[in-house]
Amino acid sequence: MSEFLQFVASGVGQGAIYGLVGVGFVIIYNVTGIINFAQGHYLMLSALAAVSLREAGLPAVPALLLAIVAGALAGVATDRLVISPARRHSTLTLIILTVGVAIAVEGLALLIWGVNPRRYAPFTAGPPLEVGGAALSRQTLWVLAVTVAMALALWWFFQRTVVGKAMQACAMNRDAARLQAINPAQMSLYAFTMAAAVAGVAGVVLVPITSAYYDMGIPFGLKGFTAAVIGGLVSPFGALAGGLLLGVAEAVAVGYVSSAMAEGVAFAVLALMLVLRPEGLLAQVRTRWA
């Protein structure tokens, strides 16, 4: 039992990251109908930017904030330079465009940062904490705290602000939202910016756990997408829950079977979800964003 608890403890940190990436998929998909392949790449950009800013001697807080802003700007650029000019094209074209953005960004990151993984120290030094017989690293606690803070912020945004309500309206019915004078191009810009910023936050808190490397975009993107699919691809909070489930499932599979399983779990879960329950495990939260 305590062994199982330990696997859960090591899985929740990764899982929260998948969930945060998944939130971006949900926001963009619901507002624009696009599956954004560059989603994991915002995480990669912010993570590598944070490493570079820290190495340049900036104190932790401004460095991380700047890195998140850099990630969000990449989201703005995706929407303004690529998605917005192609708005009249089919969704299929738009999806292929995001694939183009993703591989161009990954190639640029390779040219700028090279192939070697980089990292910085955990936010607070010290031995892991003991929680109910399982050891929980301090950085994992940071990841969880940040994830909870993001969830609260998202809840506040979607429930209490006009822009949030407008985006929720787009998610419910894009045409009806348009009839209420909600501008789809503007909503698309907000969606890409938010999705990139949330992924950026995930990126900067993740670095001390897994390091940052130029080709982390696709694996984290695919796992974030799996998290979003578990949540039915309609609810940001479903995606967060899906991420935690996936992270724990991965850790358990690695612990009880073998570390070679890590890659396979997400793909197997994604395949099973698509075959058995494409509407997600959490269907009852459909279109409810909070």
């Binding site: 000019p85 192609a86 094209h89 999806i95 292929i96 465009l97 694939v99 640029l108 695919l222 793909f267």
Partner: protein, 346 residues
């Protein structure tokens, strides 16, 4: 009447001639070698399968290289380990690829359009991981070698030149087969489906089945190219069938244009030049550049072509030809084509 009968034949013979003429030019042109010409032809064959899938099923596959890999590994194992005839091994690979694609299609074509991209991405990655970890069968990371030359009766294809001629001939056969298919009854169903799924369904076309069939056909093209590739390099390893090759096929099909069967060879030529060009030029500007940085060029090409030439190079060329024909006063009816834009997604 005589002209009508012979004109297509002359056209194809001419196309074959152009391909042959490329050979002496290749040595003179920058970035090109005969080995690259083989790559160009092989990728053109595989991407033609993806072009059919994208153009007519209106679906994007990000795991196309897995089917290329199915052909390559089947050929490698059957010819090197159990001594099958290359043609037989190639046929076996094509059957396996078609069955796999049909199974995958059965699952994913029930879903809304957008899921297929992610599902095929996952399928491609699973294939890659399986090839890498199934040591006893595939040789794992080291791959498997000792693949004999491709033979056809007394002919043995053991050099860049002969392999290129073979691949180029297969590419043209693939083109002819695709064109003939499109003017047959099931082919016309495909074209109808490409322009409107709803309209096609309303005249009794089983959309899901037709999509599955075209997905399987696309896999067969990739598998045949993969088999030829295995004979050419005599050694296969998982790296050649991972995510990057799948993305390369996507770039080839999109840049070439999915309206026309000529898109794949055109796109393949562009991508070979892009790859070799970046490999040669980037190290001059970025010192110590390593890894597959040609993906920058792939990504930019994909975005720029879709933004400014959404029907790809073949679509652009067709438009030019039509304009020229109109200008010359010989108006022709444009053939019905399916554009990415017209494909309906739900």
């Amino acid at each position: 009447m005589g002209l009508r009968r012979w004109a297509p034949l002359a056209l194809w013979a001419g196309a074959f001639g152009v391909g042959v003429l490329l050979m002496p030019i290749a040595d003179a042109l920058p970035f090109l070698t005969r080995a690259n010409l083989v790559v160009f032809a092989l990728h053109g064959i595989a991407a033609m399968g993806l072009t059919l899938v994208m153009g007519f099923a209106g679906q994007v596959s990000l795991g196309h290289a897995a089917f290329y890999g199915v052909g390559a590994y089947t050929t490698a194992l059957l010819t090197a380990k159990v001594d099958w005839h290359p043609l037989l091994a190639m046929a076996a690979g094509a059957v396996i690829a078609a069955v796999l694609a049909a199974l995958l299609g059965r699952i994913v074509f029930r879903l809304r359009g957008h899921f297929l991209a992610m599902a095929t991405l996952a399928f491609g990655l699973v294939f890659y991981v399986v090839m890498r970890s199934w040591d006893s069968l595939t040789g794992g990371n080291q791959g498997t070698g000792g693949i004999p030359d491709f033979t056809l009766g007394p002919l043995r294809f053991d050099s860049d030149t002969s392999m290129y001629l073979l691949a180029w001939a297969v590419l043209l056969l693939g083109l002819i087969a695709a064109r003939n298919l499109l003017s047959s009854r099931p082919g016309r169903a495909l074209v109808a489906m490409g322009s409107s799924e709803v309209a096609a369904a309303s005249v009794g076309i089983d959309v899901a089945r037709t999509k599955m069939a075209v997905f399987a056909l696309g896999a067969v093209y990739a598998s045949v190219a993969g088999s030829l590739y295995a004979h050419y390099v005599t050694y296969v390893s998982p790296e050649s069938f991972g995510l990057l090759p799948s993305l390369r096929f996507l770039v080839i099909s999109t840049v070439g244009g999915i309206d026309s069967v000529w898109g794949a060879p055109l796109g393949s030529a562009v991508v070979v030049l892009l790859t070799e060009g970046t490999r040669e030029l980037v190290p001059r500007f970025v010192s110590g550049a390593t890894g597959s940085y040609e993906i920058v060029a792939y990504g930019l090409a994909l975005v720029l072509v879709l933004l400014f030439l959404p029907r790809g190079l073949a679509g652009g060329a067709a438009l030019l030809v039509r304009r020229a024909a109109e200008w010359a006063g010989t108006r022709r009816q444009p053939a019905p084509t399916a554009a990415l834009e017209e494909v309906e997604l739900r």
